[in-house]
């Protein structure tokens, strides 16, 4: 069998509910109670999940709001640490592409490309070699020289996708952002991702779009109630997911050319 590039074994993740600590003042006034609360009040977002993603796979993750999909991606990206279990990652990971992408609002689009590149481990020279390609793909025109705080959410997604698709990462992580791009850009993304299909790039795609899963993914995982409900063929998984959500699903109506 091919080598797994992402491997989760019995991984659990819970979030502390720090809501009760308003600040250092309150904490100092009530140290013992605050400490007890930190230990006790935790919210379990993922319980004992295990899965593997192999090199070159396009792996889709679906599930309801709050199921723990973004949490899973965060752990793959290495920004969140699991409470229990083992995670093994092999390969260079792209910055997590999600809404409110990892851009600094005061820097221009171009400067943010460099920032993202060095953060993911490239040198400035390597990034500059790719710069024109990225700028061209994003089709942002003169906005590439403006600070990203003036970008629309679609423009952010354009820049974000252009960056991660061109800085040749080995593992791409995408958390449902492509839906905010216009149809033309979605088409472009789809083509780009199709071109990855034959390559060695591994992709993990979190999405609420049935079409994305069917068109792009080679395998899919359905997370329900903080545990893995199903892993397997994307069409099968989507069928069961739709059934459980009381949404009619018909493979023939899924547009083969959309995200």
């Amino acid at each position: 069998m091919r080598e797994p590039v992402i491997s989760f074994q019995n991984v659990s993740k819970s979030y502390p509910l720090y809501g009760h600590i308003q600040g250092i003042k309150n904490f100092l006034f009530d140290v013992s109670r605050s400490l007890a609360a930190i230990k006790k009040e935790r919210f379990e977002a993922l319980r004992d999940i295990s899965f593997e993603v192999y090199r070159g796979e396009k792996f889709g993750i679906i599930g309801r709001n709050g199921a723990g999909k973004s949490t899973t991606l965060g752990m793959i990206a290495g920004v969140l640490k699991p409470d229990r279990g083992n995670i093994i990652i092999r390969g260079r990971i792209s910055p997590l592409l999600s809404l409110g992408a990892g851009f600094h609002p005061e820097l221009t689009g171009r400067e943010n490309v460099i920032l993202n590149g060095v953060l993911m481990g490239l040198t400035r020279r390597e990034i500059m070699q790719k710069m024109e390609e990225i700028v061209e793909f994003s089709e942002l025109g003169e906005f590439i020289e403006r600070p990203t705080r003036v970008y629309s959410s679609g423009m952010m997604a354009r820049l974000g996708f252009s960056v991660i698709a061109h800085l040749d990462p080995e593992i791409l992580l995408i958390d449902e952002v492509l839906g905010v791009g216009d149809i033309r850009f979605q088409q472009k993304c789809l083509n780009k991702m199709k071109s990855f299909q034959e390559s060695d790039v591994t992709m993990v795609l979190v999405t609420h779009s049935v079409a994305s899963v069917v068109n792009i993914c080679s395998r899919a995982m359905w997370i329900e109630n903080h545990v893995v409900k199903m892993i397997g063929d994307p069409i099968e998984v989507v069928e069961h997911y739709c059934e459980a959500s009381n949404v009619p699903f018909n493979l023939n109506t899924v547009n083969k050319a959309s995200l």
């Binding site: 991984v11 600040g23 229990r84 093994i88 910055p95 992408a101 851009f103």
Partner: protein, 288 residues
């Protein structure tokens, strides 16, 4: 559960030794993501540029701003103490500047520290990079601003007919290093803690203000009452350092005992700050 774990033996031998322990804490292994030295260097450069850009937008204006603040406070103290109170310190304007400029670097670093990680939230949540580079670049940025104000100190020395000493060649690097390590340690600790207690900024503001007047910056150490002088110098981490800065700038000398004392304080702050950071850093993304 145990079966799942034994399969991970390729991940490391340690897992096999105590599989029960391994289930109690999350383990993450990441291969093929080593950063090159070139990347570290570029990371620092890019973050430094970002810092400068975000703070000032424009390089020349940024330079003027970093001068305006300490010069304005020097002017205020000059008017209050020399003109109104008529203190007898010779060359009081130069005396003030030799204390206020280095202090500005320390206090700016400490005061801006609480918001560092909060301000970089958008990238911390998306990419796994060594987060301690964020405070590193912030403190470096303040240090660079101090260094580029040195010509102004020289200008005042010319006005007061004094000349820089050769001992600056070794004195400046020594004090710069000590203060850098100290400020970096404090910034690491404060920026990490502030993710848990978001009101830390007010507290540091109060403490730094308090510290300012208890450190011989606008007055000389011998204004401390004779009986408590040694105590006041030793218990205030900023005093030995600020004392030496002025002594170096005005007289071209360092007080070895105080150098030693400030090195100890710098190491202490760095050790505390770094261990706080180490302990909390894995929780950053979920708090932002």
């Amino acid at each position: 559960m145990n079966a799942g774990l034994s399969e991970t033996s390729q991940g490391g031998e340690r897992l096999g030794v105590s599989s029960r322990l391994a289930t109690d804490v999350g383990k993450v292994k990441h291969f093929g993501n080593q950063r090159s030295l070139d990347n570290y260097k570029d990371l620092v450069i890019v973050l430094l540029q970002k810092e400068l850009k975000v703070r000032y937008k424009n390089k020349l204006l940024g330079y003027l701003w970093s001068l305006a603040n300490p010069l304005a406070s020097a002017l205020v103290f000059y008017i209050a103490f020399q003109v109104f109170l008529r203190v007898s310190e010779p060359n009081y304007a130069l005396f003030l500047i030799a204390g206020l400029f280095p202090w500005q670097w320390l206090s700016n670093s400490v005061n801006s520290a609480p918001n560092l990680f909060v301000g970089s939230g958008s990238i911390i949540k998306k990419v796994n990079f060594p987060r301690n580079i964020v405070p590193l670049c912030a403190v470096l940025n303040h240090m660079i601003h101090f260094i580029i104000t040195i010509p102004v100190i020289l200008l005042f020395m010319v006005i007061y007919r004094q000349s820089p000493s050769l001992s600056w060649i070794y004195g400046f690097p020594i004090l710069l290093t000590i203060q850098f390590v100290m400020a970096y340690g404090i910034a690491l600790g404060l920026s990490s803690i502030n993710l848990f207690f978001r009101d830390l900024e007010r507290l540091t503001g109060v403490i730094m203000n308090f510290l300012f007047y208890f450190t011989p910056i606008i007055y000389d150490v011998d204004r401390f009452p004779e009986r408590y002088r040694d105590l006041l110098i030793v218990i205030n981490p900023a005093t030995p350092l600020m004392y030496n800065w002025r002594k170096l700038i005005l007289h071209g000398q360092l007080e070895p005992l105080y150098v030693l004392l400030s090195i100890l304080y710098a190491i202490l702050f760095f050790a505390i700050g770094f261990s706080i950071y180490k302990k909390l850093s894995c929780k950053f993304a979920e708090l932002l």
